[in-house]
């Protein structure tokens, strides 16, 4: 589809926001982008299931998900002849797939082969080639730098590596946000102590953002109390992210932990299914919270540092693997299909007889996606993902 069709959101009157001394009147037409990072290496093989592969069922005697069976809510939901969706997300993500607002990219990831969570997460967030090991800045931060006027925010306790490096990016955890405790006079005095220090912008923004968020969430909570918003875990965060990203922020990051399932990860039920359910409810709540018009101008990408071993281990869990599956969601996403390069799933196609190979490098794929979303020049893409070879999977 044409990029200009994508950029069609209605102009809204939104109060200007001052952060880091810059005034942001949120540009009403620029697309929103939310990156969701699943930390711990989620088991993509039990989310996007290669149900036509006998090898899948041989490799996972106790944790494989049942083939599609009419009337069995614990069986997978077929998406095409080869791939199916885990039952844990079928209710929340199935409708988005049907509306072609959701696509999956299997065999995705990085060329970092350490199989270390921390090394690979840092590698991905930095957005540089695997040999670079330059963790001074992250690709979201550099994207924010080239976009200008697309206010960024991280919904995290700490500022993630993804957003480091290009100026000040505010962060706020949505797990428990209450009233702001300082009035304007106190905020000004507190900030004044940091004038001229390297923490000047962070101190000023932090105080202001706390007040803003407290106000917005107060309004949201009043508005939400008449509906039945599921307040559990990430679902509540999804709702709150929508509240904040609807008007003020358009480039977001959030992470969700707890995916390192070495033991008893479960099948249709159990810890992985619970995590997937929680995640997908948050994503659905985010889409709902934005409303159709704004969802049409939004792209969400879900990534993780790596996938897991294709075979289950001795403890009905899985160990660290390599290739994983990314999700791409949004109102105008060209979804409803499995995207990117693929290979038949069998013993011969595994990397090191262990896990999925990476056929879709995240730098190339995300670089191509961002180029299309924002109309970035090659030079800009090169800034965000140095020396990447952007691949256009035509997902927007």
């Amino acid at each position: 589809m044409d990029r200009r069709q994508f950029l069609f959101a209605l102009a809204a009157t939104v109060p200007a926001l001052t952060l880091g001394g810059k005034v942001f009147a949120a540009p009403a037409s620029s697309p929103r982008f939310l990156l969701v990072f699943l930390r711990g290496g989620y088991d993509a093989n039990n989310l996007l299931v290669p149900y036509s592969s006998d090898f899948y069922y041989e490799s996972r005697p106790s944790i494989a998900l049942a083939k599609p069976t009419a009337g069995d809510p614990k069986s997978v939901r077929a998406l095409d002849a080869n791939w199916a969706l885990a039952p844990a997300v079928a209710q929340t993500m199935g409708p988005l797939w049907d509306k072609k607002q959701l696509a999956f990219i299997p065999f995705a990831g990085t060329d970092d082969l350490s199989r270390s969570h921390f090394e690979t997460q840092d590698n991905i967030e930095s957005g540089e080639g695997s040999d670079a090991r330059n963790y001074a800045s992250g690709f979201m931060g550099r994207l924010s730098g080239v976009l200008r006027g697309v206010p960024p925010i991280a919904f995290t306790d700490a500022l993630p590596l993804s957003f480091r490096g290009t100026g000040d990016v505010p962060n706020v955890s949505l797990k428990g946000a209450g009233k702001a405790v300082f009035d304007d006079r106190q905020s000004k005095i507190l900030a004044s102590m940091y004038e001229g220090t390297s923490l000047q912008a962070a101190a000023t923004d932090g105080l202001q953002l706390r007040q803003q968020v407290a106000q917005d969430l107060q309004t949201e909570m009043v508005a939400a109390s008449r509906g039945a918003v599921n307040a559990r875990g990430f679902a509540q965060q999804g709702q709150r992210m929508a509240t904040l990203m609807k008007d003020k922020f358009r480039l977001g990051f959030v992470d969700v932990g707890g995916w390192d399932t070495h033991v008893n990860q479960g099948g249709a039920d159990g810890q992985l299914a619970n995590n997937l359910d929680n995640l997908s409810q948050g994503l659905a709540a985010f889409a709902d919270g934005l409303g159709d018009a704004e969802w049409n101008n939004t792209v969400v990408v879900v990534v993780s540092e790596f996938g897991r071993t294709f075979r289950e281990n001795g403890n009905k869990g899985t160990d660290h693997g390599h290739g994983t599956t990314y999700w791409v969601l949004g109102g105008k996403v060209n979804g409803g299909h499995i995207a990117g390069s693929q290979v038949a799933v069998n013993a011969g196609s595994l990397l090191q007889n262990r896990d999925y190979p990476v056929l879709n490098n995240y730098r190339d794929v995300l670089g191509g996606l961002m180029k299309r979303m924002y109309g970035l020049s090659d030079a800009d893409v090169g800034t965000v993902f140095p020396a990447a070879k952007p691949r256009d999977l035509q997902l927007v």
Binding site: S114, E119, A158, L190, M193, Y194, G206, G257, V263, N315
Partner: protein, 504 residues
Amino acid sequence: MRSFLSACLATLLCLPAAAMAADKPLSQEDVAWLDRVTFGADSATVASYRDLGRRRFLQAQLHPKGDGLPQPIATQIAGFDVMKTPADTLLAQVRDQYRDIKDMPDGDAKQEARKALQKQGNQYAQQAQAAELLRAVYDENQLREQMVWFWLNHFSVFQNKGRVRWLVADYAQNTIRPHALGKFRDLVMATLKSPAMLEYLDNAQNARDKINENYARELMELHTLGVNSGYSQADVQSLARVLTGVGVNFDGQPRKLRPDMRQYYVQEGVFEFNPNRHDFSDQVLLGKTIKGGGFDEVEKAVDLIVSQPACATFVSTKLAKYFVSDNPPPSLIAAMAKTFRRSDGDIAEVMDTMLTSKEFIASLGKRYKDPTQFLVSTMRLAYDGKPVENPRPLVNWINQLGQAPFGRITPDGWPTVDSEWSSSGQIAKRFEIARAIGSGANHLFDLDEAGTRSIGGFPQLTTPTYYATIEPTLGPKTRNALSQATSQQEWNTFLLSSPEFNYR
């Protein structure tokens, strides 16, 4: 004499002058040094430093003799439920409760019993968190307490996994603290045998033909060698096989062992090495063959790993990153690693090398305090040894600041880079905690559970220690901010929020 003293105590104002006149004033470097070697100066530390001088003060800190807790705090910690019961008794109780719950018919009562058990576990974990914070604030062995924090973070476990919540108090007190300034190898072996670690990183599940490589990987990557130090995926799998059978005897039952296997069985408290679950085949690890055997294999593997030059460098680098700077000078790391190798991994000696180096002195005053350092130093300044009645606010605050002990979900521990703690959201939160402490709007001095009887009030920060340590360092912007305070509470809040107080 007596009347002079009481007159002085009655008017706080004469104390700073008297103290300063009686003692040699501290230099800016002394103050900065003390702020780094301890969690933050209080009057007892300053007095001890004046008395002993830097060299003897440091030696006393590197080689602490027993507990340095004031009696009321020692009594308070000893009174926690989790401290009254040894870990194996506690686990036996939990095991029985699990079994009883399993035997209950499905329904509300079963749900309630399950919830009650989890609630008890969470309370025990909170008591463990409170104990660590109280020790950090009050124990005179300040360097050891920082080392305990450091090693708890280096060998991080997450309380919300499995039975770990019942085990963290024991883990801190009996696994980490005794070895915090001892030999690194002993520390690795202690964590390797600790039920908290075995449960958290799944080695309790690792058995012959049921290999789980989680702990083996993190033992090399996070605990000893560091990623990209030369070990391979094959080494991870070999080490995982060496570690088969290393687990916990949670059910308390004696193992049924073939006669030829009995010699291999090892049990120490809850820890066990179960030869029935062990892979006895030879393994090649880091280029060396580990002959098939019993727990001996594990000892040999750990000896091999900790004697790698990469281990000395990795551990030294991590220590320097915590105590010196985000990017410690290579010369310093080389000197520390040399000491590590020469002294067979003696942590106190490595620390001595670091703390007496010119690189350490050059780094003073430039580190942004992490949340624990901020919270503990705030308490040490604000209450100066006065024992709190209720430690729960401390636990709440460290949770809000995002650095709870035993609260890191991943085994890499909390980051130590300055920028990880100085984002906008974190700074604002820190100001709010400064207000809660500085204004006295907290429950630290509640005398009853309901908080209806309190002997609280806001702290007086203008103590002799303040005048000897902090006041001289304040810049014009902070002085200007303090002059705008409309109450003592607000003045406290601004001081505790100031850049000068937040760097060390």
